[in-house]
Symmetry: C2
Subunit: 343 residues, 2 copies
């Protein structure tokens, strides 16, 4: 099992490097440096897994396209992701991101907000440049996929922000899945896979089957991310249990609030209403113990495992017509990677 | 003179109404309402002058196009403007906008930031829909104009934010013109005029001449806006002297800091470093008197007047090939309207 993981990580890193090169080109020699492109370039240089561009590039190759045909689109996916991270971190009051303080902690909210806007705007540039490589019709299909996904993402973000602002306690796993489908899966897995497949197949791939696969994969990825956040220590570079401090309604928290003893529930509910800054590490650790004792972490891990089984079945439908290739093997092995990754 | 102004305002209102109808259609029946589209729709329903869509629609008609061909693009211009206003108000800590509290004052920064993102994202929808009306090539040219303008705008915003963060005092009128060219003129006047002309002329208009006209018009508009802000009372719906409270480097302030008595300058400089909330109306009024006494308001008004002369000359170049029409008359009379408008 660990051999597979190493290979996936290796291939992912090489897809990510190809994408980073394109991004560097799009960000080069832009002015002004201070207060805009210096923070933007330094944020983009932080270490990242690069799962999104990898899904896009592998899907393109699996459907017979070349890396060069999809690499601008992969760059757009990663630029968009960075834009969302920066704005989300402001909205969530997050403190750390990719091993460093969040951009608004480093530079203040105005500069960070505007830097996020810049990344979202620059992400359109490679999508327009696609016309020369992919032709007008295919480039437009890709752009339309981005536009619709962007709408879905801001809608998912509004739903999650609303839960926290309204201090919503009565949520079900279905509510959670619906929210992360919009907020995370759409742009993390479904969009990159769809646009990659669109490009590789010259518009003929079965995008519905790819969306199904992307949803299961993306949802498992997000739940795994939440579990890792809960178990986080300084090594993963993000906030220590940032989700709990920020009151995020993760699947674990939703399970806990439905099944814990009333006294434990009341304690956690009180904790959720406090500001992230006011929560000590000891308090967060106590919450972690309570959530673990209620079986909520085990529940989330089983939930992610069943989503990955779903992804495994969906894989065959999504890529039925693809001939064997290294890219196809990567897309399959990513399913296992989601469970095994440690950060 | 006042008759002309009334006509311009009347025509502008009718262009704005046609645009608002399209915007309403693009925002209709979207979910979720709470925390996203309800605030977005209510913001878009606030009273606005609508100069940007009017410039776009009139330029299209002046070059022989129809209102219907450009109205989606005009809607995109206005959606984009709203997105910028909402994000700028967060970045500037502004309190009032279009007669009501700013969106982040009403709903908090997270919801307002995300609502701004939503408007920027939805603005792409009519631009993609343009393909069916304008054809693929022309629709792409329009989209490229938007993309480049968006980059310019975030760059201008970074420059202005930098001035305030670094507490820059040594600025010249040329610095100011360069900043507003990027931050304001580009999307307020140049973009709407260029895309309107592109559509109306089917891509054959002289866009350089139109940019020249748009820059002079847009810069005069912005300086006039700053003068009105300085003279503002409750009736214009924005912050009472919000620019001064926020420390904005307006042309008047730049002139003042270069020409005032050292004692006056020190007093204003100290005021600029305080938070907007800590400044009383009496203090702001005293600053206003000092700026007026230094001749800085008169200087700005003369500067705007010379820009409008420049716009007047540029008008002939920009629209040389256009036959007389109501739209062309409107575009000409807008020059006078900029000086005469009281809000």
């Amino acid at each position: 099992m660990s051999v597979v993981t190493t290979d996936v990580a290796h291939v992912m890193a090489s897809y990510h490097a190809a994408t980073a090169e394109v991004i560097t080109r799009y960000l080069a020699e832009r002015e002004p440096g201070p207060h805009l492109y210096d923070p933007v370039r330094s944020f983009m240089a932080r270490p990242a897994k690069g799962i999104r561009p990898a899904l896009c590039l592998a899907a393109c190759e699996a459907f017979g396209g070349s890396l060069d045909e999809a690499v601008r689109t992969a760059a757009a996916v990663e630029l968009l992701h960075a834009a969302f991270l920066i704005h989300d971190d402001i909205e969530d009051g997050s403190l750390r991101r990719r091993g460093e303080p969040t951009l608004h902690v480093q530079h203040g909210v105005p500069i960070a907000l505007n830097a996020g806007d810049a990344l979202a705007v620059i992400c359109l540039r490679p999508l327009l440049d696609n016309v020369a490589v992919l032709g007008s019709r295919l480039a437009r299909s890709v752009l339309t996929e981005f536009q619709l996904t962007l709408e879905t993402t801001v809608e998912g973000q509004a739903i999650e922000l609303g839960w926290r602002l309204d201090d919503v306690a009565e949520l079900t796993p279905v509510d959670y899945l619906d929210m992360i489908l919009r907020k995370t899966c759409a742009y993390t897995a479904i969009l990159p896979l769809r646009v990659g497949a669109l490009i590789g197949s010259r518009g003929s791939a079965d995008l519905d089957a790819i969306s199904q696969f992307g949803f299961a994969l993306g949802a498992a990825f997000q739940i795994r991310d939440d579990v890792l956040d809960l178990r986080s220590d300084a090594s993963n570079g993000n906030d220590l249990m940032g989700d709990i401090r920020e009151g995020k309604r993760t699947l674990m928290l939703i399970h806990f609030l439905r099944h814990a003893h009333p006294a434990d529930r009341a304690r956690v509910a009180a904790f959720l209403q406090r500001s992230p800054e006011s929560c000590t590490s000891d308090e967060a650790a106590a919450i972690f113990d309570a959530i673990g004792a209620a079986g909520s972490v085990a529940y989330a891990e089983e939930y992610a495992a069943s989503l990955l089984e779903h992804a495994e079945r969906g894989f065959d439908d999504a890529f039925a017509r693809c001939a064997p290739s290294a890219a196809l093997t990567f897309l399959h092995d990513v399913i296992g990677f989601v469970t095994q990754r440690a950060r």
